[in-house]
Symmetry: C2
Subunit: 245 residues, 2 copies
């Protein structure tokens, strides 16, 4: 059986997130499975590297699926890009080894949160960044972020209260990129919990506003209590940038 690995980008604005749900239409997974089933004449089930929430964007989501389809990778990419909606694009199609699994084989994931830090809105970034009118103290945010680097139990930053599996993850780096009013916070790590990047970002924003000190981050992390962390930054500022295997 052929195992195909596909990398896609999507504008998450009008979708109910990645994961197909029985009671909700208009998910990215649903759109892709419907199209691939039509393309192959098989009942295709795809496996993503992870879910993204409603409204979250992606520059490099990866999924795989098994098929008997004999089309070339170029033909598959051309077919998909012809029939997918304008807000989903196939960047790459590859034949993967039989054992490749898009979620289980993840080595590193990168997420990036976009903040438009200005009292004046940017009409072109309004769907792709979170506007904060008051000036953020980025140096304090950087200092707070340092406490998060390394392997920690990130339970305080997990929205799933009934999470039974391990909440230990490794964050390799958190980079801050400032270009005019645009502030990008890029997180690299071996995996992220449900809403983790958005809660980390919300907490860093509260530090940047002076509502918390950078040192608070240490205490929040140690508390293993979601209530101690900051708010969940909105979905539309978040980009899943890529997955490495």
């Amino acid at each position: 059986m052929r195992n195909i690995k596909i990398t896609i980008a999507y504008d998450g604005t009008r979708y109910n997130g990645w994961q197909r749900q029985d009671n909700t239409e208009n998910t990215i997974q649903g759109k892709l499975e419907t199209l691939l089933s039509k393309m192959t004449g098989e009942e295709v089930e795809i496996h993503g590297s992870g879910r993204t929430d409603a409204g979250v964007h992606s520059l490099g989501q990866v999924f795989h699926f098994h098929t008997e389809c004999t089309m070339t990778t170029e033909e598959i990419q051309a077919y998909m890009n012809e029939y997918l909606p304008m807000d989903i694009a196939v960047l790459e199609v590859r034949n993967a080894s039989e054992r490749f699994h898009s979620r289980l084989n993840v080595k590193r994931k990168t997420y990036c949160y976009h903040i438009w830090n200005s009292p004046v809105a940017n009409v072109f970034e309004r769907k792709y960044s979170y506007q904060i009118p008051e000036m953020l103290d980025v140096d304090k945010m950087k200092k707070a972020a340092e406490y998060l680097i390394g392997t920690h139990d990130f339970k305080s930053f997990c929205a799933n209260k009934r999470m039974k599996k391990s909440t230990v993850r490794m964050i390799e780096s958190i980079q801050f990129e400032k270009d005019g009013a645009m502030l990008k916070i890029r997180y690299r790590g071996n995996g992220f919990l449900y809403n983790m990047v958005r809660i980390l970002t919300g907490t860093l924003i509260e530090v940047g506003k002076g509502e918390r000190t950078p040192e608070d981050m240490k205490r929040i992390l140690a508390s293993l209590d979601r209530e101690q962390a900051g708010f969940t930054a909105p979905a539309h500022g978040l980009f899943m940038e890529g997955v490495e295997y």
Copy 2:
């Protein structure tokens, strides 16, 4: 009477262009006049630096209007940004001299055309750039653009066939900026005719595809015939960047 100069940005996607029309709703001018009339209690008529077509964007359109309103410039900006739709933003409000006129006093205008030059679509730029799948020869486009610099009769690049006024304009510079698959062509000049930037861009694209030679540009310019020039590049790739006085 007070004369107020306002600079705005807008995402032109869902508007029928700048100019208020009796038979068409949803113009930028219409939205602004309705709001300013409500704000001042007067019947406000605004004067833009120039029109933009349906679907064209702006990073710095300028208009002025006369009023007896006594609000401060900060109050006017805050009021407008509170009540304008999310795709129009007020960047600056200033008290102008009595004689200031946003169209008659223009010294220089800058337009920029965005081309996404890749077979794979960019889902985030799809409303803000024109996708061309085949690779463009940018060096040839630059060579063709050189013939356009200076003061010329640009009648061949004017969509208005019944234009009675002068079609002579001065183009100061045409800059090419390439960043990955994004190609930006920036035009600076003392004024542009109806559809001129879009026809210039369409003609340069045909040179980039090898359908015309750079030297053809000289002949097209001299012909004073719209039929000799290339196609009109679509509106959604065009940004009116700013006006200088």
